[in-house]
Symmetry: C2
């Protein structure tokens, strides 16, 4: 190990890869690090768990989003990880660090946002920790359960690729806000508070989905994770997308092809899955799974 | 709500109290916020969960502790919360935020510390999140299981109070380090890496403990939590303690009664419990539970 190497040189994914080498496994860890959530067996049953950090200035801005919106989004990002396993969330814990001069009402509105978003799937905040810090940091951990967890590694050549939810709306909203616009309202609101299709996760599991993940980093990046884990090639057919009106208008205003938001925009928490048989209602087919023929990955045709 | 109130005026416990008002409950939450861990029922079985945040400069200092020691302590604090419910931890998630110029090896040593401490009870790190931040922040969430969770609220007048593990060692070490000393070694090491009596938690549950918690904030403060939850008065008999050598020598060097460390020092993660019957091997009786007669609390006689 190079003792002088810095985190910024290694990068987030590089660090995670090196950390994983230390983790090891255990017979009670049914699914470990590297999927949307882990699955742990207990003496009776099992549970899913996933965790996310949000840092002010990196994951949210107080001048762009209200505390309630930040809370809703923090919860949504986590609840979506359980949906992406085909599961349903049942509990969350929240770690909250903030400067002492923050208005108390901000922390309470944040809590309300988390609690209300969790209530959409019947999950409850069951614990947490509070501490002082120079920067606002929110650590959310979500637990849940799934009858048949759907992993990233099960896609097979011949499967179709489909998605549920929205693609590109939050990305278009972020692009608009970044240029100083506060509209179109639908795109900006999609950035502030995503609307993940929570129920579509268990629905896809029940319908026999072979692989699934949520779109947090962008459709092609996240399909790339499925492709790598499944050792397949994924072809996305761009003529299959219905590009929503807010994306077209942000695209026009900023001189960007709205398809860019669909393929690369994150934070909508759409679900993408592969199916060997019928695709359930509400899912839109956008591509196919093929042999990797050497190199796995997701691309556009 | 006073819109101008700041977090520093409300304080950590004040914020937690206000936040709790929003949390609500659900039939699947067997134990909610306000104990060492929450307990959630699933379709098959149940799990325990607890979470802690550590911030550089507040919970650890890089010039006092190695990354490996910080990781061990972060894990210990969380694993202890599951032991304090009479349970055994099985999985952890870790959120890690740090500046880009931090040496990668620090993050990897931290991971090793967490992994090795977790291995002491058979628990595994199953997931996490990594992000950039100006300050190092570590968010650990631990899950576990218990056949019969022991809560804080079950102490009854006539019970005896007993503890397992160490009391005051970490506090004495912290006091020594704060004055610029690097010794006595045993106290300083106790501050850097606590040695919680993990097995004593399930042991106490099996022996019929009526209430239990871990000593993270100081014996009298944490017994106060049991007293409040149980609506009883707890009397601690100070002549029952065997004050260890490192405490005596720090006390002499700093001109402090070593009993102060025993009663008020945190971070050793001893377990304290109340028993209606026999006290198991390895536990030391230090007090009695009495009627609250108006006001619950823990005091010294």
């Amino acid at each position: 190990m190079d003792q002088t190497q810095r985190l910024r040189d290694l990068g987030e994914f590089g660090l995670i890869e090196q950390v994983r080498a230390y983790l090891g496994g255990a017979s009670h860890v049914l699914i470990g690090s590297g999927d949307d959530a882990a699955q742990i067996s207990t003496d009776a049953g099992s549970y899913l768990v996933s965790t996310d950090l949000l840092i002010e200035g990196r994951h949210f801005r107080r001048d762009w989003s209200s505390a309630y919106e930040v809370g809703s989004k923090a919860a949504a990002a986590n609840l979506s990880d359980i949906a992406a396993m085909g599961g349903t969330a049942n509990a969350l814990t929240v770690g909250f660090a903030a400067p002492g001069d923050l208005e108390s009402v901000w922390a309470l509105d944040l809590t309300r946002g988390i609690v209300d978003e969790a209530a959409k799937v019947g999950a409850v905040v069951v614990g947490g920790d509070v501490t002082a810090s120079d920067t606002i940091m929110i650590a959310v951990t979500v637990m849940g359960e799934a009858t048949r967890p759907v992993r990233r590694g099960g896609a097979t050549p011949g499967d179709v690729v489909a998605y549920a939810g929205r693609l590109g709306w939050a990305g278009a909203g972020f692009a608009a806000l970044s240029r100083g616009f506060r509209s179109p309202k639908k795109a900006v609101e999609a950035h502030r508070v995503p609307q993940p299709p929570y129920a579509a996760g268990p629905q896809a599991a029940l319908a026999g989905a072979t692989a699934m993940t949520d779109v947090s980093d962008g459709l092609l990046v996240d399909l790339g994770h499925i492709a790598a884990a499944s050792q397949v090639a994924i072809d996305v057919h761009t003529d299959r997308f219905i590009v929503g009106e807010p994306l077209t208008s942000v695209g026009q205003a900023l001189g960007v092809d709205p398809l860019h938001f669909v393929l690369s925009g994150g934070d909508d928490y759409a679900l993408v899955a592969t199916f060997g048989g019928d695709v359930p209602d509400g899912w839109t087919v956008i591509g196919t799974v093929a042999d990797a023929s050497g190199e796995s990955g997701a691309g556009v045709t």
